[in-house]
């Protein structure tokens, strides 16, 4: 499986996650969002950047709980809940948020 971003073909797994997480750029997020029929708004990008920053700093994908706590702290308390996350990413944290952010597929462990 693969996606084409700005003329460049990038390999993905069967569920659409990037095979090589270093391939990510914003174009990847646009392409994947398009496939999932999500229209990206600034609110999506806030969460995606927060997720990516967390991953860059700690080398892991946060749990939903840690992420919502972080969203609450950094983007405003009214946003720090799973309801807000699901409004932005209807298929949820792993299938939408992590995938669009170009992070590894959660293993189902945390």
């Amino acid at each position: 499986m693969s996606i084409v971003v700005k003329g460049i073909t990038l390999e993905t797994d069967k569920d659409g996650y990037l095979t090589n997480i270093n391939d990510w750029n914003e174009g990847v997020t646009y392409t994947l969002a398009n496939e999932e029929s999500i229209i990206l708004r600034p609110e999506h990008w806030e969460v995606i950047h927060l997720l990516r920053d967390f991953y860059q700093e700690y080398k892991i994908t946060p749990t939903v709980r840690v992420l919502t706590k972080m969203i609450g702290g950094e983007l405003g308390e009214e946003k720090g809940n799973t309801k807000y996350l699901y409004e932005l990413f209807p298929k949820g944290f792993a299938k939408h948020a992590c995938k669009l952010a170009g992070l590894p597929k959660p293993t189902g462990c945390h």
């Binding site: 797994d13 069967k14 569920d15 189902g108 462990c109």
Partner: protein, 130 residues
């Protein structure tokens, strides 16, 4: 008493899964409950259904499967550790595009939360490693 058991090592290379098995059997025969056995690290290889030892050696994997069937023990393989080491049930194998699955009968794949939960629910946790 309710026991939870964590097994960190692979069968055949290490004796610890054998000791864990003997402990489990003794506990069950003394009327205790084994709440769950959680396989972690290389311990996930205890659930490899393709394991085929020579006929004059014990079959560690089949022995676990039989124990699960006879006593209804919950044998849980850590899914993240299993993915790293190539242990998959039919769903996982299909999801990752592998030709066959190899999780032995009586085992199930699940998250690390199952280990933590066993620690909460059981009276004792024993770790067999090496």
């Amino acid at each position: 008493m309710k026991f939870a058991i964590q097994i960190n090592q692979s069968p055949y290379t290490h004796q610890s899964p054998d000791t864990a098995y003997q402990f489990t059997l003794a506990a069950l025969k003394s009327g205790h409950e084994i709440y769950r056995i959680f396989f972690y690290h290389d311990g996930v290889l205890n659930g490899s259904g393709f394991t085929t030892p020579p006929q004059d050696e014990r079959n560690v994997v089949a022995r676990w499967s039989e124990l699960a069937e006879e006593y209804g023990i919950d044998l849980v393989i850590c899914i993240a550790a299993a993915q790293r080491r190539g242990i998959m049930d039919a769903d996982e194998a299909e999801r990752h595009g592998h030709a066959a699955s190899n999780l032995a009968a009586g085992f199930r794949l699940s998250g690390l939360g199952q280990l933590i939960e066993a620690g909460i629910e059981a009276d004792r946790l024993l770790v067999f490693g090496g």
